[in-house]
């Protein structure tokens, strides 16, 4: 099932796409899971904010130049309200952060003060705005409940992966002209029901699961600043929770990653050279070979594709096999650059080099062979994403 949600305020995804990549400091050693640093990572604050007060050149959303009081901080987190009373809107996932416990909220405040306003007086006291208390499911294991807390509160997965309010949780956020956050429910075809727990943990750790998918753009950034820094046991808890999240699907034929065959037609493309002043063929297979195959391979099976920073296989790849071509078009247009554990996964942006028709031809060749052949991309589709 495809959910389209149009939002009039700035899209979370849009902001993610704009964020300038800031080199992380590599992978931190495992920290105890309740330190302020750890909570800061688990809440993924660095996805949008750099913890310097005021403007810096990171391209991230600047913090207020004046330190917030503890109560103001909690109100920003839980109500999406700035001290002047204005609303941050859905771009701040306050509906999720409102579920963070008082204890953790106070620790996040501590980290915020320590990092952004070192040496300044911490102003605590006064009642915090009420949390939306988080109900543990006592019939389930502590691991499940920890996973729920990470997914539904701190990690606020649904901010991207759930459709608009009232929709089916985690069943995917599809934005008309933006990145899609896929269905991550346990539905075997529409969601990630066929991913093993280990697959999910590996994905959250380094963003690469060969034969399944690669984290790019927003998810790539999330891995970089958040899930990749968590403890193994927390990633396991997330996987346990996601594997048991209610399945929602729309009768999809296959899971995203199940599509695709290697291309074996490269020899049929060989022909006479084309003079420089004559137009070269704009056929999708030819363009794929000219622009993409030197990294993704003539057959589309990638190169060193299991490695972080390797070139992903396009067959059995969620981005390619999805029924919405959003992410495929977006990544061709804008490229991606993410660093996991000191290794950089990079794809250049082709928006300047290729026109809508060329990108449509390439994308349709790619879905036709390496993905779901029913998905066809027109030049008009590409234009929408520019």
């Amino acid at each position: 099932m495809i959910f389209h949600k149009k939002r009039h305020i700035a899209l979370y995804g849009a902001v993610l796409a704009m964020l300038v990549f800031v080199c992380g400091c590599g992978k931190k050693e495992k920290t105890a899971s309740d330190t302020p640093e750890y909570l800061y990572a688990a809440a993924g604050c660095a996805e949008c904010h750099s913890l310097t007060s005021g403007d810096d050149d990171s391209g991230k959303i600047p913090l207020n130049t004046e330190a917030l009081t503890e109560a103001q901080f909690a109100s920003a987190l839980r109500q999406g309200k700035l001290p002047d009373g204005s609303d941050m809107g859905d771009i701040m996932p306050w509906k999720y952060y409102a579920r963070i416990t008082d204890g953790d909220t106070v620790k996040l405040y501590e980290y915020y003060m320590k990092t952004a306003f070192p040496g300044e007086k911490i102003s605590v006291g006064g009642a915090l705005p009420a949390a939306s208390p988080f109900k543990e499911d006592t019939s389930k294991t502590p691991q499940y409940n920890r996973g729920m807390y990470l997914v539904e509160a701190l990690g606020r997965c649904g901010a991207c992966h759930s459709p608009e309010e009232g929709g089916k949780p985690l069943s995917g956020g599809v934005y008309e002209t933006e990145w899609t956050a896929y269905n991550i429910t346990s539905d075997p075809a529409a969601g990630i029901g066929k991913w093993s727990s280990e697959d999910i943990e590996k994905y959250l750790k380094d963003g690469v699961v060969p034969g399944k998918g690669n984290a790019i753009s927003g998810m790539g950034l999330f891995v970089e600043v958040s899930s990749g820094l968590l403890s193994d046991s927390d990633r396991k808890a997330v996987a346990v929770y996601l594997k048991s999240a209610a399945p929602y699907g729309g009768g999809e034929e296959k899971a995203r990653f199940e599509w695709g065959e290697p291309y074996d037609g490269v020899n049929s493309l060989r022909k006479a050279m084309v003079r420089l002043d004559k137009p070269e063929d704009k056929d999708g297979a030819v363009l794929y070979n000219g622009y993409c195959a030197s990294c993704h391979g003539f057959t589309g099976e990638g190169n060193d594709s299991a490695a972080v920073g390797g070139f992903p296989s396009l067959t059995h790849n969620s981005t390619v096999g999805a029924s919405e071509p959003n992410n495929l078009i977006m990544v061709i247009l804008n490229g991606t650059e993410r660093t996991y554990g000191g290794k950089t996964a990079f794809m250049p942006a082709f928006s300047g080099e290729l026109d809508d028709g060329e990108i449509a031809a390439i994308a349709s060749f790619v879905t036709g062979r390496f993905g779901n052949p029913a998905v066809k991309i027109t030049p008009a589709d590409v234009k929408k994403f520019r």
Partner: protein, 534 residues
């Protein structure tokens, strides 16, 4: 046809030289028009041409030229430029948007301070009209523009700042070779390259396609298309398919316009305040010479008679042998390291300096041809290809040829292109200054082969070209024996400038493009001041 027919600054040629200047000037708001003889081409077109070409070893092959803007072709030869001998000068360059940088190898070297003062230091050749120190900040700017990565040690050209990118990781072949020759006293250093060693400027890191020449398929290398994209983004206008064939002057000797032809043969005039020729060291002298008028019967900018003269390249010889142990060449960039030990010294009074390069080539094709020529077929052929490919070692060399007036580009009296524009003709000979350097180098080639227990040693003593065309509008302080001054302004025409290897007054032993780029950036700075004056 083209809407723009005048500009404050008119540049002829959209190679890296023209684009760097255009980009810097346009970024500061100047009105820049670049006229380019050849067509616009995409990377995919070239990559597919390369794959379709039966002549993989000929780097000009995947670039079959437009008939109205031909450039050298060798498989088979199109006789362009015409070779008048006695030595051949098989130049490699392209006429298309982005120019020759589409298929360079990204070696991005600074020349040595001595290279700029050959005459005063060693009594041979010429001195430049600019010094290394004056060029140094522009070398650095060029390195940043191109994202050069290189080693901090091992090359005695002083640097004010570290390389913008880390040095490339050496292929295992180069490492092995370096370790093997070290005990015998040879140094092997990593080449500085304009080939990304990490994602940089929106371009990916080198992925080891081992295809730098004739085309980097992923633009990890800073190439012609990079230069063009940046120039256009900065606001420079590029008109392709405009073959400039005449430079016009007023009665005071200032340039008033250039004339170009479009593929249909029609002529067009473009007026400007400042003109920059960036059409490379073969096409620039040709254009100056064919622009002769009654006031300038020997061609434009040619009161010294030096236009077209002092043609240089880096003539090269090579050795190839089978090493006793497998070395596994051919993975990663095609060229990654060199021996810098003979690039400078008092010996330059007598003989040419030399840079010895290690070739990290995949030689399966050459080996196959070699074995077939020895009558080896079948299963034996297969296993021998495998074995030879792992042990095939190639060193080649680049000599510092001196600028000599008799080595020159002239205009062919007999060959014209479809637009009626004459071919360039090349007169070239290699003197004993280089021969002595080659004899010295052959000795070292022999020693190197010996270190590896080399067998089947083959020397190539006939000089190869290295596609570094230089000298043909040489720079100097004296208008009587040089074409441009220290600011690259022609001595004869105050608003005509030249941006190309053609202004270089010595060749040195290193690839020329970073030096050309530094000169261009310095010129751009000077032109900004000039345009500000109005």
């Amino acid at each position: 046809m083209n809407e723009k027919n005048s500009a404050d600054v008119v540049i002829v040629g959209s190679g890296v030289s023209g684009c760097l200047i255009g980009s810097r000037l346009a970024a500061k708001g100047a009105d820049v028009l670049i006229l380019e003889a050849g067509p616009r081409v995409t990377r995919s077109h070239i990559v597919e041409n390369f794959r379709n070409s039966p002549y993989k070893g000929d780097f000009q092959s995947p670039y079959p030229p437009a008939p109205y803007a031909i450039h050298p072709q060798y498989s088979p030869s199109n006789n362009y430029p015409v070779q008048a001998g006695p030595h051949g000068y098989p130049a490699g360059y392209m006429r298309m948007v982005g120019g020759t940088l589409w298929h360079w190898a990204g070696m991005a070297w600074r020349m040595l301070p001595s290279d700029f003062i050959m005459k005063s230091k060693y009594g041979v050749g010429r001195d430049w009209a600019v010094t290394y120190d004056e060029l140094e900040p522009y070398y650095y700017e060029a390195e940043v523009e191109m994202g050069v990565g290189g080693p901090e040690e091992g090359w005695p050209a002083p640097r004010s700042k570290p390389f913008p990118n880390p040095a490339m990781a050496l292929p295992s072949f180069d490492k092995k070779v370096g370790d093997t020759i070290k005990p015998s006293g040879y140094n092997l250093i990593t080449e500085p390259v304009a080939r990304n060693t990490r994602p940089f400027d929106g371009r990916p890191a080198c992925a080891g396609n081992s295809n730098c020449m004739p085309i980097c398929p992923i633009e990890a290398q800073y190439t012609g298309e990079t230069a063009v994209r940046k120039a256009e983004k900065a606001g420079a206008v590029i008109h392709e398919n405009c073959v400039v064939y005449k430079i016009e002057h007023d009665n005071k000797g200032r340039i008033s316009a250039v004339l170009y032809k479009t593929p249909d043969g029609s002529s067009h005039r473009v007026k400007g305040k400042i003109f920059v020729l960036a059409a490379n060291a073969i096409e620039i002298p040709k254009l100056l010479l064919i622009s002769a008028s009654s006031k300038y019967p020997d061609g434009m900018a040619n009161s010294s008679g030096q236009v077209g003269r002092n043609l240089m390249d880096h003539p090269g010889t090579s050795v190839r042998f089978l090493s006793k142990e497998p070395m596994y060449p051919g993975r990663g960039p095609m060229r990654a390291s060199c021996i810098p030990d003979f690039c400078d010294g008092d010996f330059r009074k007598e003989r040419a300096a030399v840079k010895i390069n290690l070739g990290n080539y995949s030689s399966a094709r050459g080996i196959t041809e070699y074995l077939l020529s020895k009558g080896i077929y079948g299963e034996k052929l297969n296993s021998m290809i495998r074995d030879y490919a792992s042990r095939w070692v190639i060193f080649n060399s680049m000599f510092d040829i001196l600028p000599r007036p008799e080595n020159r580009v002239t205009v062919s009296g007999s060959f014209k292109d479809v637009l009626g524009i004459p071919y360039p003709e090349i007169h070239y000979s290699i003197d004993d200054y280089v021969d002595k350097g080659a004899a010295f180098t052959r000795g070292h080639f022999g020693k190197l082969a010996e270190i590896f227990g080399g067998t089947e040693i083959a020397y190539t003593d006939s000089y190869m070209n290295n596609n570094h065309m230089m000298g043909t509008t040489i720079m100097g302080d004296d208008p009587k024996d040089s074409v441009v001054d220290r600011d690259l302004r022609t001595h004869d025409h105050p608003n005509l400038f030249i941006a190309s290897g053609s202004v270089m007054a010595s060749a040195g032993t290193v690839n020329s493009t970073l030096t050309i780029s530094a000169l261009c950036l310095r010129l751009a700075d000077a032109l900004l001041k000039e345009t500000a004056k109005g």
